[in-house]
């Protein structure tokens, strides 16, 4: 599981993350949403151990991430960044196999690493691309390869920064389904999403970040509130129920003229 207590991250005079508390238990998909510049990526990188918070601490599986050694940490959490792998000359299979690096000394049967790699590629629908070099793939295909790599890492915690940003609508659903099934198998998944509808439909809990602060945390029903979203995003937003699925649906209701007034109301939340 993942736990963060009173995390703050300052750079110069700017407070990028302001006293954020967070937990994600095994079996749970937690989404982090919020407008550009809200601090989502900074928060995720603190959880990954990439950035040391100015105050507060983060734990993965009860290990303080700012003190754990890289090798140990690589067996506890996998991280998928928002950038692609564009210049990589290796094949899809090579790159997904690199996800096994933390477990290279594990006592596994011959072929077990290969089977794990194969299954990760299958889950993200890149098996047919296995022997293609990464630089020959589209951005969306590269994103799925990246996801296959972190799945192959087989860590109890998965930290994903916009894993669906370049995917078509079919693969978005498929990838969210994969995250849910990983959670069912006991993984704790923390995922940054821009698409509020994906978050509403597929995540157990949500955290809405705004200007470095967690303005709402809870189930999608608790977090997704028309007024709150309109204020945070500076855009008039309507939350309704999905006509066919048991989840909420987030819609924009008018063009962004209304935004300037709503945007200034941010701190009153």
């Amino acid at each position: 599981m993942v736990r963060a207590e009173e995390i703050a991250y300052r750079r110069g005079n700017a407070t990028l993350i302001d006293r954020v508390m967070l937990t994600a238990d095994r079996g749970e998909v937690l989404s982090i949403v919020g407008p550009n510049g809200a601090g989502k990526t900074t928060l995720l990188r603190i959880l990954a151990g990439d950035l040391i918070p100015s105050t507060g601490r983060a734990w993965v599986q009860n290990v303080d991430v700012s003190r754990a050694d890289l090798q140990h940490l690589s067996q506890l959490r996998a991280y998928l960044g928002p950038k692609g792998l564009s210049d990589n000359p290796f094949t899809v299979r090579d790159v997904v196999t690199m996800g096994r690096h933390p477990h290279r000394r594990a006592m596994l049967e011959t072929g077990e690493h290969e089977a794990i790699v194969e299954s990760a590629m299958e889950r993200t629908d890149v098996l047919a691309l296995a022997s293609r070099p990464i630089h020959s793939l589209s951005t969306g295909e590269q994103q799925r390869v990246g996801l296959a790599r972190v799945i192959a890492q087989e860590t109890p915690v998965l930290l994903l920064d916009e894993p669906t940003s370049a995917l078509d609508i079919g693969h978005q659903e498929k990838v969210m389904g994969v995250l849910r099934s990983l959670a069912r198998d006991g993984t704790a998944v923390v995922v940054i999403l821009h698409d509020l509808n994906l978050a509403a439909a597929h995540t157990d809990r949500m955290m809405l970040l705004h200007e470095g602060r967690a303005v709402a945390v809870g189930s999608p029903a608790e977090v997704l509130n028309s007024e709150r979203l309109s204020t945070v995003y500076g855009q008039s937003i309507q939350v309704t129920t999905h006509p066919h699925r048991d989840c909420l649906l987030v819609l924009t209701v008018e063009a962004s003229e209304a935004s300037s007034e709503a945007g200034t109301a941010g701190p009153s939340l």
Partner: protein, 346 residues
């Protein structure tokens, strides 16, 4: 473009082919290098010399014995060692910086090695061993390689990185030229050597002093093959799968510096070998560094020995500096590569 063929088997076949082809080509150019030159020598002369050296025959010495042993053997072997150093260092640099244009010569590591070598000569007592110069060259090259790492952290664009390296290299070369010309001592190789290289001064003594540096560098780089592969993911991503990136990169760059330092001390500044050997091998056998590093070293050796044979025979008795020929042949390959990269947009 769907339905690709799994190339794992094809890759290992290509590795076998490449190893065999490069090995045979290296043997051929080494033999050619020993036999060609102002004093004609036949394969029989070569075996005679080797037989005498190894104490197999007691035939009376021939004139060719001393030419082959004292002049051509150290020269051809120096070319081989220089090529190994440049090929391995090029493959490692390209992997470390995820930049297929990285070359120890282009980014100024050769020029820094030259500066270090001249400093080493200045510190060597008259008649002292060549190893101090080798140490100087290695120190200069390691320092430049580590500096390029700092630069790589600040620039994002790969061509910007090369331009910065090129500018620093030109500045260091200018300093080197100024020092060499002002000092004007017979103990210092000419400026031409530091710009275009040359193997004419090779002796058993310099070969013996330089080879350990190149071999140590090769061992370090080859031993880091797995980390070089993982660095292709990106530094942050490599770190996330447990690679201690700062430490690993520093180790690799020390290996690069030792290789290039040894190579430059032996053969001067020879460009484009470290660029082209890995480039060709990567498209031939794939990017896996466990194979790419040793085979780029083998290809580098073959190229330098072959070019050195041409350098002393095409315009005989005039000898063309090796680096001039590698630039004449290598620069168009580099330009072709840049244009190809530009077109495919990778």
């Amino acid at each position: 473009m769907n339905g690709p063929i799994d190339d794992t088997g094809a890759r290992s076949r290509r590795r076998a082919t490449a190893t065999t082809a490069l090995g045979l080509a290296l043997l051929a150019v080494v033999a050619l290098g020993l036999l060609s030159g102002a004093v004609a020598a036949s394969p029989a002369d070569l075996f005679h010399m080797l037989g005498g050296r190894l104490g197999i025959t007691d035939d009376p010495a021939r004139l060719t014995d001393s030419v082959l042993w004292a002049i051509r053997m150290p020269r051809v072997l120096s070319g081989l060692v220089v090529g190994v150093g440049l090929g391995a260092a090029g493959a490692a640099l390209q992997g470390t910086f995820r930049n297929q244009m990285a070359d120890p010569h282009l980014v100024g590591i050769s020029a820094a090695a030259g500066l270090g070598a001249v400093a080493g000569i200045a510190l060597t007592p008259i008649g002292g061993p060549p190893v101090i110069m080798m140490v100087g060259a290695a120190v200069g090259a390691v320092a430049a390689a580590l500096l390029m790492r700092r630069i790589a952290r600040r620039v994002i664009e790969s061509s910007q990185f090369i331009l910065v390296g090129l500018a620093l290299g030109l500045a260091m070369l200018a300093w080197l030229g100024a020092i060499v010309l002002a000092w004007d001592s017979p103990r210092v190789p000419t400026f031409a050597f530091w710009v275009f290289g040359g193997l004419a001064g090779s002796t058993w003594s310099t070969l013996g002093a330089g080879t350990p540096f190149v071999l140590a560098g090769l061992a370090i780089v080859a031993g880091s093959a797995r980390s070089l592969d993982l660095l292709a993911l990106g530094e942050a991503e490599a770190q996330h799968v447990g690679v201690d990136v700062d430490r690993v990169v520093a180790v690799i760059l020390v290996g690069v510096g030792l290789s290039v330092g040894g190579a430059v001390a032996l053969g001067g500044a020879i460009g484009f070998v470290g660029l082209i050997a890995p480039l060709i091998l990567r498209s031939w056998i794939g990017p896996t560094h466990r194979w790419l590093v040793p085979l780029a070293a083998l290809a580098g050796a073959m190229i330098v020995v072959a070019v050195d044979v041409s350098a002393r025979t095409v315009a005989a008795p005039v000898e063309i500096p090796v680096g001039l020929l590698t630039a004449i042949l290598g620069a168009p390959v580099f330009v072709w590569f840049l244009l190809r990269v530009g077109r495919s947009g990778t």
